[in-house]
Symmetry: C2
Subunit: 528 residues, 2 copies
């Protein structure tokens, strides 16, 4: 939790940085006498909000949804003596934090599927979140507290492939080629500009010399500043006993490198704040995280319980729900609603109009994942790919290779993962068989022979998943100052929490932080 | 195993690439009608040399050293019916592929140390090799064959730190800052040169436009081409419920970024062919790999057996050795010597003069590692560092964080690892206590409070380790065409194998490949 003055000082600097460039921001930083702010973000975790033990005595809270936000709220409020009830429509906790294993059956609006894979600890799909970043301090804090074993999730595998139907004859190239050759070309070009005096106005003489040295290392350039290929991009003949030097690959032609879609975002994906290493995953599947929560929250979770109405009352709030044929009415002092807005807007309620409007207008991403069973880990054995992801220009977007079960005979790989964040980018618009066929066709373009090497595909298109109806909130930038801020505040006795209110969007960390935020608000209200 | 014509064609291309630049190489590639060579290196592993089952019948081979090369040779020759004896001076297999665990005692020329750490599967140090690259196909092939469980070894952690006593007041900065800000500045500068027409001669109009687009993504630039900081470099205030946008850090000043030693090689370390992801490690320690070999090679390994003389005889070769007080003479048809040259040159022999000269002249790196026990994984809990390495300008060079035991309470970290590849860069020149003190002092500069957070340091300086006397062969480029080639050939009945003859240097993969190479030579000779 950042204190307000710090935030505003930092926002001030960010504002200067955006409007005046880096040098101006740094000057401002120095002027504030706090240049050390730039050295090393504080990644220490201070822990969840600490509430006095008896604070909740006699207070009832109904929590809608046993996903990560709901579980967090129930766990912390339970420890502080609140009487919680968690209503969960599914037969399991976790919501979108879900793991499909061999034999599992699941339902979408276009039918029931079953994962016809063998049962083994390394054979699973995380249809929703599959990564925990090293800076997801709150999630990692709970994993530590609950003893959830973690392992490294490889997100930047240089042996993985990029494939664009429009260049290189549609053939895939290795990530190491794209990255190594781009660095080489960029370094060569920048070096030419610097060494021929074209950037003299931008740089001091000393900086120019140092820059040329740094560029040489950055791009692995020849002594004369040319880029003539690099071992970083791989060898056409790998060094071996009879061939100590090997032969480095010819660089990819710059013209084609630039014509490919790689540099739209794919080639810098693993640089992004949310995706840069180290990424982690629970051993055995992402649902190990909500399962650990659910064990501690215990019997206050009522599964198979579907919310039908949310109403305000004189004393608090009333939730009407049903479990099988049983109609249930639950009155409590407060409600914490962690249902996705895509679901919540379909539930009769008497929220104030501004909230109804806000809940109606936030769009949800329409992401989808396909998974296949592979009897042989051909990506490891044939291509040297261990974890990481390959990209394609086709709408299935990517193949994600498991970071677990390394060296086992078989595996489950994610055969497509399209984000569904743009209009038209909606795999769910196609029938199930077509979604799987698209993934097979793209796989064949990346790994020749793919159709014979994978089988038993399943596809989860989140807009078709009951009680989710979408994958995550796709905020428009301007909504952060309006709708986002409104939903951070309770509508009378009703609080809102979920990934969409916590941390940009789509991350479990956001769900946890938003629950912490609500708990703090609620505690302050009860104390007052 | 590459066939000769392919090698020479590829060498030809590499030659063109080095002399004529990338464009010339690519034109040549097209002219050869084999542009597809550039698309995707063949990472499939064809397996070890296949020898006929009874080939070795009646043939005796003495193998000196039960390190990775010796074990490989013994395993394959044994399967082909050769009668092998493996002489190993130590009480364990693996040679430099060694794992130290809690309670282990070990000897160096400056004394005996004991790792006073608790015993637990995640508490270990690999004093020698600690990584298996995804392209170490032969090692990975054996791991698969033997069922050695592998896990990902994180080598590029963006939360890890770089510290240079000469800049930023000696304070560490995060790798993500160095890398993100460098990309930003390089992109901004290159964009300026391109957009102001300074590189018009180098680029077509279309390439210029595409290049500006790629640079914007590469550097995370503003719309106007300026670099004004990036979330990739981290936040000074991380996005959170009340702060959806967060505040990105002010960029590090370019002048200081260039003045630091980061771009000598540290900031591009994880781009290198040998270090780029995915890197792997055996679960539980590197010695799991040679141990798996040794179980299969079995009782032909004679431990505690020290070689005293190597002589040629009329029928083959004679090895004189001792075990305790017992003097032993072993006559055999062939000898495969896998001892490091640093050891071999001290053993009386009757090699031909060219071989004696070659064995005498190859220099060995003088690398050293320190390890500490930490009761609390402060690097994870305080800094969000999960695996990867931090760098310092001091001679201890780096801190390496464990990629295993993530989330456990305690851990063992590598508190220094200097390569010892340059004159003077020899930690072993200092007394043991001083080596450990240097690591503590550097750790304190990277992690304030370090001295109170770690304890029970041990230091392995490879020149001081009996039967190793150095870490790996540091080849001079010109030696590859002379000494290296000579030692690839047997001196009469005596063959040479080891990391130094296999694959550049220093990697277990080289040890395996060089053993395969010797086996093939030996098989051809026996067949003939």
């Amino acid at each position: 939790m950042k204190s307000a003055p710090v935030v505003s000082r930092r926002s001030f600097l960010a504002h200067i940085a955006r409007s005046g460039g880096a040098a101006a921001a740094f000057a401002a930083l120095d002027a504030l006498g706090c240049a050390s702010l730039a050295w090393g973000e504080d990644l220490a975790y201070r822990g969840p909000p600490v509430l006095p033990g008896g604070l909740g005595k006699g207070k009832r809270v109904t929590i809608l949804g046993a996903g990560v936000a709901g579980l967090t709220a129930a766990y912390q409020l339970g420890k502080a003596g609140f009487a919680c009830a968690v209503l969960e429509a599914r037969h399991r906790p976790g919501g979108r934090s879900w793991t499909v294993r061999g034999g599992d059956r699941f339902e979408q609006s276009d039918g029931v599927q079953q994962a016809r894979w063998p049962k083994a600890p390394h054979l699973y799909l995380n249809p929703g979140p599959a990564r925990i970043s090293h800076h997801h301090r709150a999630v990692l804090g709970y994993c530590r507290e609950f003893g959830v074993p973690l392992e490294i999730m490889m997100n930047d595998d240089r042996a993985a492939l990029l494939q664009d139907d429009g260049v290189f004859g549609g053939k895939p190239v290795q990530a190491r080629q794209v990255l190594g050759d781009t660095r080489g070309y960029f370094g060569e070009l920048l070096g030419k500009a610097v060494s021929t005096g074209k950037l003299d106005q931008e740089l001091s003489q000393q900086d120019r010399e140092r820059l040329l040295g740094a560029i040489a290392s950055f791009g692995d350039l020849q002594r004369d500043g040319r880029y003539a290929g690099s071992a970083r991009s791989g060898y056409s003949a790998t060094p071996a006993p009879g061939l100590p030097h090997g032969a480095v690959r010819a660089p990819l032609p710059l013209e084609q490198l630039l014509r490919a879609d790689f540099w739209q975002f794919k080639a810098s994906f693993a640089e992004d704040f949310d995706q840069a290493g180290t990424m982690l995953q629970p051993v055995g599947g992402m649902d190990r995280f909500p399962m650990a929560f659910a064990r501690r929250v215990g019997p206050v979770i009522r599964y198979d319980t579907v919310v039908d109405e949310i109403r305000k009352t004189a004393q608090g709030a009333r939730v009407v729900c049903h479990r099988g044929g049983n109609h249930i009415v639950i009155d409590s002092d407060y409600v914490i609603c962690t249902l996705p807005l895509s679901v919540l807007r379909g539930i009769p309620n008497d929220f104030t109009p501004a909230y109804r409007q806000a809940i109606a207008e936030v769009e949800y991403a329409r992401s989808a994942k396909t998974a296949f069973y592979a009897p042989r880990r051909f990506w490891e054995q044939d291509d040297g790919i261990y974890g990481g992801l390959s990209w394609t220009s086709r709408d299935v977007t990517q193949i994600l290779y498991p970071s677990h079960g390394i060296g086992q005979a078989d595996g489950v790989l994610v055969g497509s993962y399209c984000f569904g964040a743009f209009p038209g980018d909606d795999m769910g618009q196609y029938p199930l068989a077509e979604r799987i066929e698209k993934a097979l066709a793209a796989g064949e373009a990346i790994h020749p022979g793919y159709r014979r090497m994978v089988r038993d595909g399943v596809n989860i298109a989140w807009p078709k998943v009951p009680y989710s109806l979408g994958s995550w909130a796709e905020w428009k930038p301007e909504q952060y100052d309006t709708v986002y801020q409104l939903l951070q505040q309770p509508d009378g006795p009703i609080y809102f929490a979920g990934e969409y209110l916590g941390y940009l969007s789509s991350w479990q960390e956001g769900a946890v932080l938003s629950a912490h935020h609500v708990i703090e608000q609620l505690a302050a209200r009860v104390r007052a």
